[in-house]
């Protein structure tokens, strides 16, 4: 299994749906995708991680990098995740304090300004 990425616009936000494995091998693809969106002027991102099977610290680094990029444009980066195995990784690394994490895309959109 590799990494799958797809983007769409909903409720004025850009949803990035990520699936598969995010690790040192695939994380550069996610980084490129986030950089491309910011370059296109899309600064309010929701990364949907419900189909992610594996996440490592390289993936976390890419998400933190994405957050810094959108914040430089007064933007936002929110996550959608309900998988305990993935949530645990955010908790261990203290990143639950850095990213707003929502149970669904609808909730993420509703909670946006």
């Amino acid at each position: 299994m590799d990494l799958s990425l797809s983007t769409r616009t909903e409720g004025g936000r850009t949803i990035v749906e990520v699936g598969g494995e995010i690790d040192v091998y695939t994380a550069p693809k996610l980084r490129e995708q986030l950089v491309e969106l910011v370059n296109e002027g899309q600064f309010h991102l929701i990364v949907d991680m419900e189909a992610v099977d594996f996440l490592d610290s390289t993936g976390l680094g890419v998400l933190v990098g994405g957050l810094k990029r959108v914040r430089a444009h007064e933007g936002s980066l929110q996550l959608v995740c309900t998988q305990e195995r993935i949530l645990k990784i955010f908790r261990i690394t203290g990143l639950t304090k850095v990213f707003p994490i929502h149970p669904s895309v609808a909730v993420a959109i509703a909670s946006s300004d």
């Binding site: 040192v24 091998y25 695939t26 594996f54 610290s57 680094g61 990784i89 261990i92 690394t93």
Partner: protein, 146 residues
């Protein structure tokens, strides 16, 4: 039943998912509980990513993974041929990772996923990261557990 594997891999990012799938697959085939196997897979991925990222540019092009199950304990060693860990790392100094940092969370995750972690340098050359974890077995495990 005791089992041991040794895998030699090219020092390339593509080796990391390969190593993880091999080890997680072997664990699951032996009957290790899936969550435990996935935690070992994450610890291994972090250790391998460290080899691929930090030992960059050296003349050596391979690294080695030695994994084994003895009773209820899984031991994994990741051995590279690079310059070794810097002395402050070996002394166990905690590396401060700010919320905005894009690196430095790997060892934190290895420690959280396993029971015991040891960093050392090979007497001749290279870094050795060892970790251990107590296993849980599925009810239908192939390996009879004493």
């Amino acid at each position: 039943m005791d089992m041991r594997w040794t895998v030699h891999l090219p020092r390339d990012a593509a080796s990391v998912p390969m190593a993880r799938r091999l080890l997680v697959g072997a664990m699951e085939t032996a009957g290790v509980d899936r969550e435990v196997a996935m935690e070992i897979g994450l610890a291994l991925s972090e250790a391998c990513a460290n080899v691929v990222e930090h030992a960059r540019g050296g003349p050596y092009s391979e690294y080695q993974i030695r994994a084994g199950i003895t009773g209820d304990c899984c031991r994994v060693e990741i051995i590279d041929g690079g310059p070794g860990f810097p002395p402050d790392r070996l002394r166990g100094s905690a590396v401060a990772v700010g919320p905005g940092a894009e690196n430095g969370r790997g060892l934190m995750l290895i420690r959280a996923m396993t029971d015991h972690v040891q960093l050392s340098n090979h007497p001749r050359r290279g870094a050795v990261l060892r970790f251990e974890k107590t296993l849980r077995w599925r009810k239908d495990a192939l390996v009879p557990v004493s």
